[in-house]
Symmetry: C3
């Protein structure tokens, strides 16, 4: 997939990468096109291998250059060039920054300007609407006052965008409403802690919002790091919801107010989540799951399950163990 | 009460309503003035009966037209015309949309303009303040920069409205402060889930804020569906509080940061709620109740009670059962 | 320390203070320079003594005028003039308002104006940026669209300030990022409850943010009452975090999304706090503490401890007692 939002540096070769990682150059230099995960990498992309749970993917990857830790070297097919590092994710961060120097920070888009009605079809909009270059907005949309839509954002037809909304690095479907004060597409909360200052992790992913979606007031939906943050068709989010980087929420979900998702979790279809519940990072929540308000979910939840509690567990057992008449 | 905020369609007759619900027309057509709940409906209003707990109200209602489910028909006085439907709330939603077509979505008010000092008495205001038609603001108020006040909003005397505030469909008393980034009066999170897209529930209620109130930064206070969302005199809300549709909060309450109220709950006077507590929907919380920080309230709380925990219970017993020295 | 943000009234004498507290005047009137806590007060400042836990400080204070309750009088050195009141904090509030009449409310800064590039070195900024008088911004900063920086604010070098940010009464270090929609420096949630209206507590403190800090989207960081609210060097805050008045957060902490801090708590260095955790008021959290997501911390936590739960306790014991396989 083409990355609309971050310009990739061209003409990078393997020795540029090795130099950036403070490693020895190879004798035979060769071009590297991009950095991608094992499954999506092509022959001329660099990839990385950081956990034994991806051992099947590493056998199938098309890439011929892999960043990894010495403990994983045996698992990697012999024909692949291996770049051995102490901290794989830090190296991936450095290489990603090499390809996408704009993806580390979140400088505002200073090239945007007052919206120009001529560029859009049947668009109603408020005062002081600011729009970046190459923004695409479908027909019959409405955009509220003081709203900012940064460069390259794509919005479908019949969408209602509220007041004081900020949208960057995002692709939005049709018939979707984004309510007042929501912030979509900022860099996720990812970095490597340092003694005095932290190294920010580059975020080249986007926020992809489906059709018939509602994003509530003052929501914060961060863009992904290497993959995208996704909100499926027909899903409704209430006010003050936080969605961290790389989270995938399925279709027709109902997420009530003040719910928070930590990074990289995935949520199935038709999932109901009560107010103020929290979902830890890197979890898999199935389809038709119901999560009670205030729950703290710390493990995977299979489909068709109702959970509640902190930590969240089967709702029937939670209620049985918490029958207080006082 | 006159609805300041949503224009009611006139000349609607019972057969217009039946057609909109895909039901057979009556032989004798007659005009319907409005849709109201059992207690507030007049003779020429349509009303609805959806739960046996309102059986006393249905006996006293002045309305002569009721939408209900077949299982409730026996409870309804014989002189009343009954409209029998499968899903009462969905029918109410449709009829409400028929009377108030603007109450389903939350399009920004595109008719507002830069504030004009001449229209207000002793008003101080910032840059880029946008005000809709027919807004009334009392004397000695201050309004911060970039704030939006939509059409027909009423604000009393001596109020301080912060920066980046959005107020729509709201009535505000005297000596009330509304702090930076608060959003008052947007449509509540109510809809009927559908397979691909959800049917939004119309919200013809308002937000009614009393006098001597403080609404904290980045609060979200949604307007009611058929009734109002209310914040009583002397009540203070801290930052990042969420108040859902139809919630009634009494007088002199103290609601600390990040508290959330689900829809239609009512809270008495002099109630103290600690940070991050959550109140489930449709509950009744009495007067002088104290709710500990982080509590999850899932049942009614009688007056003069202190509760804590998740689910919330008597604070003394909660603390006794949670005496950890580790 | 000079207070940049609140102008102190001059030429106040002890009898002005006594009159404001409705107490009898002294025969010998003398000037009072300021109101400060026991440790920071000089000879010509008034101070206050409200809790026996400060009995060592009261012996060492340089002040010769102390507001206190009669039950503490014996503890106070004889040479000090004692002002005896029923409610010490209410009296302190009144005296602070006498010195700093602007510190009670949070009127927007109406003297600010469109930013003028000439006043700053190598500054990039967006549309509609509003800046108050005497604002200092270091070199190589970026400021997003619609952002408001009120009078006397100080910002270091290489800072990125997002869109829709509001900064007042704050001092910010170097290399610090403040993301979209954050609100820094508003008055804390402090007041004395009254029957019909509450008496707001004056807040003459600031928000002091260190260097290499990140403040997330839609954060609310309130200024201190008599002391400052502080965020240490290298600390990162995720989205929708609330930091109440007088909170001190140390260096290199990681605070994930939707965490809330009640007033006057202090947090050490290298503390990790998971999403949605809450920290009660007036607590001391040590260095290298780890607090699990969703925890409710209600007591002091010693350094090098991991806690989780509601109320929070040793994480090992929490997990042992909450091993649910259902």
């Amino acid at each position: 997939m083409v990355n609309f939002f971050f310009q990739k540096k061209k003409n990078i070769k393997i020795n540029d990468i090795l130099v950036s990682l403070k490693l020895k150059k190879l004798k035979v230099n060769y071009p590297i096109n991009d950095i991608k995960d094992l499954e999506n990498a092509n022959e001329d992309d660099i990839t990385f291998f950081n956990s034994i749970k991806y051992k099947e993917s590493v056998k199938k990857t098309k890439s011929r250059t892999i960043i990894t830790h010495k403990k994983f070297i045996k698992t990697i097919p012999e024909k692949i060039n291996v770049i051995k590092v102490e901290n794989v994710l830090l190296a991936v961060s450095n290489v990603t920054s090499l390809f996408y120097p704009d993806a580390v920070n979140d400088n505002p888009d200073f090239e945007l300007d007052q919206i120009n009605k001529k560029n859009y079809k049947n668009l109603r909009f408020g005062k002081n609407v600011l729009v970046g270059k190459n923004v695409k907005i479908g027909s019959n949309c409405a955009i509220g006052h003081n709203t900012i839509i940064e460069k390259n954002v794509r919005i479908g037809n019949n969408c209602n965008i509220g007041n004081n909304v900020i949208i960057k690095n995002s692709i939005i479907g049709n018939n979707t409403n984004i309510l007042d004060g929501a912030v979509l597409g900022k860099k996720g909360f990812g970095f490597f802690p340092g003694k005095n200052s932290n190294t920010r992790y580059p975020h080249i992913g986007s926020v992809v919002v489906g059709s018939n979606v509602e994003i509530g007031c003052n929501n914060t939906i961060d863009r992904g790091s290497l993959s995208n943050t996704m909100i499926g068709d027909g899903t409704f989010l209430d006010n003050q919801v936080h969605v961290a980087h790389n989270v995938k929420i399925g279709k027709n979900c109902i997420i009530t107010a003040q719910v928070g998702f930590a990074g990289s979790s995935s949520v199935g279809n038709k999932v109901l989540i009560g107010g103020q519940a929290g979902i830890s990072g890197h979890l898999v929540i199935g389809d038709n799951v119901q999560i009670g308000g205030g729950s703290g979910v710390v493990k995977n939840i299979p489909s068709n399950t109702k959970v509640m509690g902190y930590p969240a567990r089967n709702i029937r057992n939670f209620l049985k163990d918490n029958k207080f008449n006082d």
